[in-house]
Point group: C2
Chain length 112, copies 2
DNA sequence: TCTTATGCATAAGAAAATTATGTATACTTG
DNA sequence: CAAGTATACATAATTTTCTTATGCATAAGA
């Protein structure tokens, strides 16, 4: 998902988090928003994003609604009630993970 | 690498970081150290760790030395000069990644 | 007209885990 | 003393999750 080929496994969480803040977003918009927030350092590829969106939808986390804008179709995704709960738990899980990762990367913090 | 099946791609960096601090460590010791630092939340599996160590060694990042302790063999790994440089760059890269991830998870920080 | 941007989608391949298995010694506990 | 847990390495099969490549389609800009 990133140009630097770093961590895997965080894409679904990122998507859920963005939708938690935005009510509805479409795929391309998500790629641009991530790019914008990370100053171009994360580039979400369509090959990763669309299957992730489809999977989350299949799991009942997202609902969709298509709109035609400027003769082009946009497929908007929104969190379902279940998706909202999932977003919160996934974000919490990821934050927990990041804390542990930081303990490993910055051992001095664990000593104070 | 973790019991919570979270992020992938950080194991090699974690290994390099630990070896940066410890001169030499053997595989089992690494699994225990990680478990200890993260209060049991990260459980590195052998199926992930050993191939990673072998790969880093093949790439010239690690050198090895075996020791027999208590009739059991330990294979100690140390950073080579190249491995030391790699450790620093990989850690920097991961920290950069974590910063961007935090911008996504905590959008308010990006505004102040 | 050709490239870039917008917008969706899927398939092939690669990377990096998990899970399962195998070997071997040492310690602990009932 | 038998069985389970801990120590210690290793590899193979499978799964997950990406990247890369490809395809279709419209719009804008050079």
């Amino acid at each position: 998902m990133s140009s630097s080929k770093l961590l895997k496994g965080s894409l679904a969480t990122i998507v859920l988090k963005l939708l938690e803040e935005n009510e509805k977003m479409y795929g391309y918009e998500i790629t641009q928003r991530v790019k914008e927030i990370t100053a171009g350092e994360f580039k979400i590829t369509e090959g990763a994003l669309y299957p992730t969106l489809h999977k989350l939808e299949a799991e009942g986390m997202l609902s969709t609604e298509t709109q035609k804008v400027d003769n082009r179709i946009r497929k908007y995704y929104s969190l379902t009630k279940e998706g909202n709960a999932e977003a919160q738990s996934k974000v919490a899980e990821l934050e927990e993970f990041l804390l542990n990762l930081q303990k490993l990367l910055n051992p001095k913090l664990g000593m104070g």
